[in-house]
Amino acid sequence: MSVTRVTHQMSQQTTLANVQRNLAAMSKLQGQASSLRRIEKPSDDPAGTAQALRLRAESRALAQYDRNAADGRGWLTAVDTAMQTTSSQLVRARTLVVQAANSGTTTAESAEALALEIEAVRDALLGQANATYQGRSIFAGTSDADAAYARQPDGTYTYAGGAGSVDRRIAEDVVVRVDGDGAAVFGDGTDNVFALLDRVAADIRAGADVAGAIDEIDTWHHRTTSALATTGARTNQVEAQIAVNASAKLSLKADISAVEDVDLAETLVQLQTQEVAYQAALGATARVLQPTLLQYLS
């Protein structure tokens, strides 16, 4: 559509529209350069918005998995410490039992001393079995009992755990058990390491042969070491996941930035170009709108 007749009103309006458009483009670029954000609202880049929303949700979830993993590592460390002590206590118990089994040399006094020492080991083990982390008994599973193992007046022991394990979600699809399996390490019901030590102590006092108990203690010790190995493996898994999460967090941050943030150099160059265009438009306006024929008529 060609425009043959041009009037002042037309050039005024066209100029005004051009200056407005330049100013609008410049203000948008200025906004981007000052907020450093490319996507202020969904329509700025709908596809980018979809990505940004997903990446932000992932980033928040990842931060939570990191918290879960850190908490899980605390649990596993506590379990590991407790089981290391348990292991050394069991070694100590075995030594005492071996000593007591050499019945030829034991007197009533030394038997009593050995029995007392065995009971001391039992108490130490009981203490480890009832170890807590942040107020929770680490071998009691999900139970709310104060202690995992309680000695009853009749000399038997009750185990509070066994109903579910304590798990931590350290990644979207990775759940790790972070508590100690009390039943595996210390036993439950009537078959537990405390009852065994009680029985051994009683046998020593009674002067009975306790050689058979050595194998039993060895069995418990094996169970402890294998549980220790499991705990170590889980700790490794959690540590590895923490490292993976840390690098994922960095790359997520980079992804979010790539989607949402402006390329500063590019934006500044565009802003500079736009500024030149705006000034040119203003300059042209000043030249176009001023002259009329009237200035040249006397």
Binding site: V3, V6, H8, Q9, Q13, D45, R136, G141, D144
Partner: protein
């Protein structure tokens, strides 16, 4: 031919040039008047009395000049183009404005939007799963649930407020249309009577053109010039203004967003055979489209669809969280009931009726029955609801992206149509606007002609002086 006839010829020229100068003056006076169409005095030479008769004496010259018409230099086709492009541009601009405003109210993507609140809420459940015995994480989950329900309700209210304002604006538009239509009918009548009596109705026509363009901008009305100088304005094929008669339209239908689905706001003719007004474009068409109720396929009005998205979000949250929460037990073994509650009142939309039913952290059912009291598996399962395929997060994200796409499309098409409107307006201005340079040149021409006519007068006067005062005084 009379000796004095040249005097009257010169006089006719003086009068004509002055009249033409008047027109130029009027043009310059209205150089910046919106809607003014430049005018030109059309002149014609007056022929001699050429009727041959017995007493006719040889050749005669013409009798001078006269103004035959003050022409209005508009282009009806350019005007029509402006009206049609304005109606389309206004329609798309109204839709784009609605979308752009709605989009700012959802504030996504950000650290404060609904998506961020949802992520915060799900993460909170993981903390509860880590430590069901501690009331602190439970309190945090309850707080973030509270914030989430408020964010949903706030978003819904924003859409509702915008709906109310759009409806109020549409009512104002309808009033403007009715007023413009009745003014147009009056102008039609005045123009007809002025034209019939041979007068000049150019300025009235300018005002009428402004009104028809305004009506096109509001309703997409089409205008047709009739033989008697009046215009007929039609919306959807039905007369809005015909001659000196105008017909009123009214906005009927629901006055609330909630009622829009069943009874969408629409326009109707306010006459005996009332029927729906079919708009061809214009601001009102854009507004009425935005006011429509939500449809199952998502093709309803922008505002109602946004409100429906908030409702869906509330319902999904309620259903999905409660379904898992109900399978759990609290630390004291009490079966978990509802975590979220919806208002029982059917008049309350889910987005506003969503509340947190659990008031105390001890009421959170984090554990599975049969496990220990400190089991957190159910809390963990709730924390994973956000990552499932049918999660509220996905639905919300889909809505946000859909809104972004629609807004972008609406803004772009509004920009394109505004560009074509501006071009049409420029073409119209090219024909009708006043050029000061041109008028200056015209003034110069008329001024010279006026001077010439005055000189003719002087010359004739001197000739007559010779005849009257010098005749018969030979040799004196």
């Amino acid at each position: 031919m009379s000796s004095f006839s040249t005097l009257s010829t010169a006089l006719s020229s003086l009068q004509t040039q002055r009249a033409a100068l008047d027109v130029a003056g009027q043009n310059i006076a209205n150089a910046n008047t919106v809607g003014y169409t430049r005018q030109r005095a059309e002149t014609a030479s007056v022929s001699a009395n050429a009727a041959a008769s017995r007493f006719s004496s040889g050749l005669t010259v013409g009798q001078g000049v006269t103004v035959t018409n003050v022409a209005r230099l508009g282009d009806v086709f350019a005007d029509a183009r402006v009206r049609s492009s304005t109606s389309l541009a206004a329609d798309l601009a109204a839709r784009a404005t609605t979308y752009a405003r709605l989009e700012t109210s959802i504030s996504e993507p950000s650290d404060t939007g609904v998506a961020a609140q949802l992520a915060q809420f799900w993460a909170g459940w993981q903390d509860v799963a880590n430590n069901p015995s501690d009331p602190a994480p439970g309190q945090v989950v309850l707080e973030s649930a509270q914030i989430l329900t408020e964010a949903i309700a706030t978003g819904y209210r924003a859409a509702r407020t915008q709906w109310d304002e759009t409806r109020a604006q549409s009512v104002a538009y309808v009033d403007a249309i009715n007023t413009a239509a009745s003014s147009l009918a009056e102008l039609n009548e005045t123009i007809r009577s002025v034209t019939v009596s041979g007068g000049n109705a150019n300025e009235l026509m300018d005002r009428r053109d402004l009104l028809t363009t305004q009506l096109a901008e509001l309703t997409g009305a089409t205008t047709r010039l009739q033989d008697d100088g009046t215009v007929t304005v039609s919306i959807g094929g039905n007369h809005l203004v015909n001659g000196d008669t105008s017909y009123r339209i009214g906005l009927v239908g629901s006055t609330t967003l909630a009622g829009a689905a069943a009874d969408a706001p629409r326009l109707e003719w306010e006459r005996t055979s009332a029927g729906p007004v079919t708009l061809d474009g214009g601001l009102l068409a854009g507004n009425v489209a935005s006011l429509a109720g939500a449809r199952p396929d998502g093709s309803g009005g922008a505002l109602a669809e946004a409100a429906a998205a908030y409702d869906r979000l509330a319902t999904q949250l309620h259903d999905q969280v409660n379904a898992v929460h109900a399978t759990g037990v609290t630390t004291t073994g009490t079966p978990g009931g509802e975590f979220f509650a919806l208002s029982a009142d059917p008049g309350t939309p889910p987005a506003l009726g969503l509340t947190v039913a659990v008031t105390d952290p001890s009421g959170i059912a984090a554990g599975a029955p049969g496990n220990g009291a400190y089991d957190g598996s159910v809390a963990d399962a709730i924390g994973q609801v956000g990552t499932s395929a049918g999660s509220p997060d996905r639905a919300w994200s889909a809505f946000v992206v859909d809104l972004g796409v629609r807004t972008q499309a609406a803004l772009r098409s509004a920009e394109v149509s505004e560009h074509s409107r501006a071009t049409a307006a420029l073409v119209q201005l090219s024909g009708s606007s006043v050029d000061i340079d041109e008028e200056t040149v015209t003034m110069l021409a008329f001024q010279r002609a006026y001077q010439g006519a005055a000189r003719v007068l002087t010359t004739v006067d001197e000739m007559l002086d010779t005849l009257i005062n010098r005749t018969g005084v030979v040799g004196r």
